[in-house]
Structures are given as structure tokens and as C-alpha cells.
């Protein structure tokens, strides 16, 4: 299954957030598309991102690298990148690599949108 991406802007109690809904597989082939999307959003001035990974079937280290890259970019603008994920098999990859300490991971988009640093 290929990667699907869609974005929408949401205004929550913490301010404006851009929700990136990701579906399908994030791997060495599809990760560049996600990277392009994140770079484009940051270049367009969206510095507070919520990446909804509930529709992701597969994530590998290439995908992790892209998310880390996205985090670096938004942080350069004092922004934030929050993840929404409840899938154990995806969460496991974040745990193995210690990235649960790097990314705020939420159970719902609403929770992520409302969160403040």
C-alpha cells in the first residue's frame, strides 16, 4: 500500500495547528514524499505540526528519520511536532530507538492539538 497524505489546519486552545494525516506504509520508498510534505509546510510557515499516524500500516527507520528531520525543522522556528498513535506495532519502533523521549505521542488528534509545551 502506498503512502497517503492529507493536511488540514485546526485552531485549538493552544493556537493554530496543522494536522498531517498519514496513511499506508512509510518506508525507504515512500518516506521522501512525507519529507517533502513536512519541508513544504515548514517553508510555508506552519511550525506547529500534528502528525496523525493512526492510518499508518508500516513504519521503518527511514520514516523515523523523516520525522526527526521534521522535528528539527519546526524547532528551528520554535515550533512543535506531535504524533498521534495508538498502534502498538508502530509505538514499539519509537520505544526501541528511544524516540518516545523525543516526540510527544498522543492518543487523539484533539489531545495533540490542545497540548502546549
Amino acid at each position: 500500500m502506498d503512502l497517503s497524505l492529507s493536511t488540514r489546519n485546526v485552531t485549538g486552545p493552544a493556537g493554530d495547528r496543522t494536522v498531517v494525516e498519514v496513511g499506508g506504509e512509510i518506508d525507504v520508498y515512500t518516506a521522501p514524499k512525507l519529507r517533502e510534505q513536512l519541508v513544504e509546510l515548514v517553508n510555508d510557515g506552519s511550525y506547529h505540526l500534528v502528525v496523525d499516524m493512526e492510518g499508518v500500516d508500516f513504519l521503518d527507520s527511514t520514516g523515523l528519520g523523516v520525522l526527526v528531520g521534521g522535528l528539527k525543522r519546526v524547532r528551528a522556528h520554535e515550533g512543535s511536532l506531535r504524533l498521534v498513535c495508538n498502534q502498538e506495532r508502530i509505538l514499539k519502533i519509537f520505544r526501541i530507538t528511544g524516540l518516545t523521549k523525543v516526540f510527544p505521542i498522543h492518543t487523539t488528534v484533539d489531545e495533540a492539538v490542545a497540548a502546549t509545551d
Binding site: 518506508d27 527511514t62 523515523l64
Partner: protein
């Protein structure tokens, strides 16, 4: 002899095929359903790494994947053809990303992260290399008494 062998040109789009084939053969071999996600991820990481190494080094040869069903285990061997220059260093391209002298051909560090994921997932892991290239060998038990990490 391997149960199933796969050779694919070093293109990222073929890594998914390798994952699907590996998971299908692992399931047939009797690898626990709960572990199949790990098999899929580990073989994907190993293949992504091999593809990256071939592309960075302009190697036209295919990436090799051998899936072997044994009596009580299922093993996957992923081989690349990028020579490991310093084969005397035990840490060269080992699962430890921090070993000095390890081949670091991926400037983004994704190569290291891939190995970190593999070593976190697979208990029975061997990473070897020589002038002919590197090999990642992973194996999983096929009995139902698999202990989840």
C-alpha cells in the same frame, strides 16, 4: 539451500516486495503470528540498508535475500556487495552504531538507525562483512513457545 531466494535491483520500491515475501515464507515456516511484524520490519530495515549501500557506491548488482526454513528456526540472510574495507575491525558495520571505524555511508544517519532497529528487534543477529560485501543474518524460532521481548 535456502527455501526461497530473492534477488532484486537496488531500488527502494522493491524493498516492500522483499518484506511481503519474507513475511509470507516466515508464516509458512511456522514463525509465530505475533512475531511476523518484527520479521517484516527487520527484513525491511536490512534491505533498505543494502539498497542504500549499493546506490551510494554505484553498485549495479542486485541485493540478495535468502529465506531458510530450518528444523526449529527460520533465518533470513540479506547480503550486499559493498566491500567491508576494514574487515579486521570486529565493529565494522556491526549492529552497534557507535563502533569507531564502522562504515558510515549514509550521511543522514539512517543506516545507523536501521541497524539500531534491527538489533532491538532480533535476538539472534549476526552482522558480518568481507571484501565480497556485508551480510546480515537474522533468525527466529518456529516453535509456538516464542518468548516476546
Amino acid at each position: 539451500m535456502a527455501t526461497v531466494e530473492l534477488r532484486f535491483s537496488a531500488q527502494p520500491e522493491h524493498v516492500r516486495t522483499a518484506r511481503l515475501v519474507a513475511a509470507a515464507v516466515a508464516r509458512r515456516a511456522g514463525v509465530d503470528e505475533a512475531v511476523l511484524d518484527e520479521v517484516r520490519l527487520a527484513v525491511g530495515e536490512a534491505c533498505s540498508r543494502a539498497v542504500g549501500l549499493h546506490r551510494t557506491n554505484n553498485i549495479a548488482a542486485p541485493v540478495r535475500v535468502a529465506l531458510t526454513e530450518e528444523e526449529k528456526s527460520f533465518s533470513i540472510e540479506v547480503g550486499d556487495e559493498v566491500p567491508v574495507l576494514d574487515s579486521s575491525a570486529p565493529g565494522a558495520r556491526s549492529a552497534s552504531a557507535a563502533v569507531p571505524g564502522a562504515v558510515d555511508l549514509d550521511a543522514d544517519g539512517e543506516d545507523d538507525m536501521g541497524l539500531a532497529v534491527i538489533s532491538g528487534l532480533v535476538d539472534d543477529l549476526r552482522v558480518t562483512g568481507g571484501p565480497g560485501g556485508g551480510v546480515i543474518l537474522m533468525s527466529w524460532p518456529t516453535t509456538s513457545a516464542v518468548v516476546m521481548p
